[in-house]
């Protein structure tokens, strides 16, 4: 099922442009963010992918016609305790993939709140893609494809249903993002690294979401 994969790390053609973009993956825990990244970066899939702790940083390069796009990928952990750290990763990001699990309606709701948060707080021209992952489990589907597609249209998101397991649409979604990103204005370089995140060393004062405390049961 491996979709066309011309985008294994390849040598940048000397005459082409090289662009570097920061991309962040967000979504509820266990929807498959790390699996998508691992499939994209290393072409691997582990049935029992351990949960991410904090965030993992990986890079992958794809080629588009005359441009080489280098993705700097932040694969964030989905757990609630890391929510307050998310701004540190999406601030200055040129692209985001918000992931949900098509077999779990709650993760779709969570994905929508991530999209809202990005629209409100991330850089205004960030490219957001919505990925409905685990499409290989369509017999257990709980999130309607058309519903997610309509939502994406309304919000100007790229949308694909992906499967890290079968590799379906995994490379495509990254490629689609790469195509949509502007390549002329010295596209995202190190200048856009996280600068002002949330200071977790300072205790509660600076926690905009109250993410770690939440509401009592």
């Amino acid at each position: 099922m491996a979709s066309r994969a011309p985008q294994r790390p390849n040598n940048a053609s000397p005459q082409g442009k090289i662009c570097q973009f920061k991309l962040v993956l967000l979504g509820e825990s266990a929807v498959g963010k790390s699996s998508l990244v691992l499939r994209f970066v290393k072409g691997q899939f582990h049935e029992y992918q351990e949960s991410t702790i904090g965030a993992a940083f990986l890079t992958q390069t794809v080629c588009l016609q005359d441009t080489t796009v280098k993705f700097e990928i932040w694969d964030t952990a989905g757990q609630e305790r890391y929510h307050s750290l998310a701004p540190m990763y999406y601030r200055g990001a040129q692209a985001a993939i918000v992931v949900y699990d098509i077999t779990n309606q709650d993760t779709f709701a969570r994905a929508k709140t991530w999209v809202k948060e990005l629209q409100r707080q991330a850089s205004p021209n960030i490219v957001i893609a919505l990925a409905g992952n685990k499409s290989d489990l369509s017999n257990k589907r709980m999130v309607d494809h058309d519903e997610a597609a309509a939502y994406s249209d309304e919000n100007g998101l790229l949308f694909m249903e992906t499967s890290a397991k079968t590799a379906m649409h995994v490379n495509d979604i990254f490629l689609a993002i790469a195509e949509k990103l502007p390549k002329n204005d010295a596209g995202g370089t190190a200048a856009n690294r996280p600068t002002s995140g949330v200071d977790i060393t300072q205790g509660g004062g600076s926690n905009p979401q109250g993410g770690c405390c939440g509401r009592s049961q």
């Binding site: 702790i53 904090g54 965030a55 305790r81 977790i200 509660g204 770690c212 405390c213």
Partner: protein, 502 residues
């Protein structure tokens, strides 16, 4: 409330007694009612009172808190019967669950389950309610419960409000040793949430379900609990270093020094769970328990840190319980054995540390350190035969000033799991006797049918050794002399004698 009876009653070896109310128990009943009149008759509660005072009663009276405690005998017996009956229906608390040697529970002050080593903590919430009731029962008398001994079972409490940690153990560990285990569990939880965050949450929401913040942390706690049952590092509160030629370790240390940047507090190189070298800021020490929490984090994650470079907040309780350090964790080799950890106070330092990592790796490669580390690892541990003392079977040696230890790999007669566990139990027992807070010993020598044991605490070291049972005391002492000389001779290889500073 039906599970209340189960674990507590397992403390009752002779369950036939459980129908009759022991007399101590009546005492407790009366002292309880006095207490509810806020007139503590005897604030200095003996642990044994609790024990022999049928633990079910404790739960019973405590359950009726905060209302006036009822010592109505009939209603009590009825309730108790109900407990015993429903106990059988409770599938979660199966006999295999009860037979586990060592249980560890974490709950909040309000009795909300946070973690249980065995079984699902969700289904244990009423049991945890009993625990918290016992705690508050004693607390009401201006006292703090520390432990209950019931037969061969020990119930140990560590109260770190808003958390309450409880261990139930039928192993050979002493209460003091179990307390230390609970401290490790506590520190691991703090490493995830930090003390200040914990206090902040519970100052406003007494009912908060901490598991929401700890999602995914179970594997670290499980790994820690399992290790504490077999790894001497927690018993000795010391870490084990990868045996490596002294000059090579110096090269590694110098390579780590290359990473010096602002706000970088520590750089640690670990290979297969063993420390290779550490570099630190001059003014800060990396405490052993903090280092152990960090090592447990890396060792418990089979693959979490394998993809790319990880960046996560971690609170090291000894370093600063109210703030987070930021850990940059990456593996340096294809085999995913050698792991480099940077701990920085700057949460934005990730990319700076990526550059530092490159410098460190370049220097490590220049001196072929990674190859040397792999080689050292593949040679694995040394066997006790290398020491050249035939009657010596195994030993643990800890240097006190640098909190590191060394031990040979297990060999005959400790070559199978059962024997290894037995040996570990013997070490726990010896350690417990030597470090008995009431009567600490310097030297302990005992002979059994199976082996001769010697424990010796001197100013600079602790040694626990097992010999063949036929060895005489003089032979053992001279063997220890030779062993100490052997270790001294290899000090540079077995231990990290110097930690460099940035």
């Amino acid at each position: 409330m039906e599970d209340d009876a189960t674990i507590l009653s397992t403390g009752h070896v002779t369950s036939s007694e459980s129908v009759d109310v022991p007399s101590d128990f009546e005492n407790l009943a009366s002292s309880n009612s006095q207490n509810s009149a806020s007139n503590p008759a005897n604030p200095d509660i003996q642990e044994e009172v609790f024990v022999s005072a049928d633990d079910q009663y404790v739960s019973d009276s405590a359950l009726s808190l905060p209302g006036p405690s009822s010592d109505d005998d009939i209603s009590f017996r009825q309730r108790k019967l109900t407990m015993l009956m429903t106990e059988e229906d409770e599938s979660e608390l199966s006999s295999s669950w009860k037979e586990k040697k060592s249980h560890i529970f974490v709950l909040t002050e309000a009795g909300k389950p946070v973690y249980s080593r065995h079984g699902c903590e969700d289904k244990l919430s009423s049991l945890m309610g009993v625990m918290v009731a016992i705690v508050s029962c004693v607390h009401d008398r201006n006292d703090t419960i520390r432990s209950i001994v019931a037969g061969n079972r020990k119930f140990v409490f560590l109260i770190k409000l808003p958390l309450v940690l409880v261990a139930v153990s039928s192993a050979l560990e002493t209460i003091h040793q179990i307390e230390i285990h609970l401290h490790y569990v506590y520190n691991t939880i703090i490493s995830v949430v930090s003390l200040s965050q914990l206090n902040r949450i519970y100052s406003t929401q007494k009912n908060y379900d901490l598991r929401r913040l700890l999602t995914g942390t179970d594997k670290f706690l499980d790994h820690l609990c399992n290790s504490m049952d077999q790894d001497p590092q927690y018993l000795l509160r010391a870490v084990k270093c990868l045996p490596l030629a002294g000059h090579m370790r110096d090269f590694v240390g110098q390579s780590l020094q290359q990473s010096k940047t602002d706000d970088l507090a520590f750089a640690v190189l670990v290979s297969s769970g063993q420390v290779v070298s550490i570099c630190r800021l001059k003014e800060h020490n990396l405490d052993t328990t903090d280092l152990q929490v960090l090592l447990n984090l890396v060792n418990a994650s089979a693959t979490s840190f394998h993809a790319g470079e990880s960046w996560l907040p971690i609170c090291l309780a000894q370093f600063n319980p109210s703030g987070f350090l930021h850990a940059h964790i990456s593996f340096l080799d294809e085999k995913l054995q050698t792991c480099l950890i940077f701990l920085s106070a700057d949460r934005d330092a990730f990319f700076t540390l990526c550059e530092c990592k490159k410098k460190v790796v370049a220097k490590l490669n220049k001196h072929k350190c990674l190859e040397a580390i792999h080689l050292a690892y593949s040679k694995a541990d040394y066997t006790v035969s290398k020491v050249g003392i035939p009657e010596l079977w195994h030993f643990l040696y800890k240097t006190n000033n640098i909190s590191q230890f060394t031990c040979p790999e297990f060999s005959v007669p400790y070559h199978n799991e059962k024997q290894r566990q037995r040996l570990f139990g013997l070490y726990q027992e010896m350690h417990g006797k030597i470090h008995n807070p009431a009567a600490p010993l310097k030297l302990h020598y005992s002979v059994s049918d199976e082996e001769t044991l010697l424990a010796w605490v001197a100013s600079g070291f602790e040694l626990y050794a097992t010999f063949s049972p036929l060895v005489t005391k003089n032979q053992a002492i001279s063997a220890v002399d030779r062993l100490l000389r052997w270790i001294k001779h290899r000090e540079d290889e077995l231990f990290m004698m110097r930690t460099l500073t940035f």
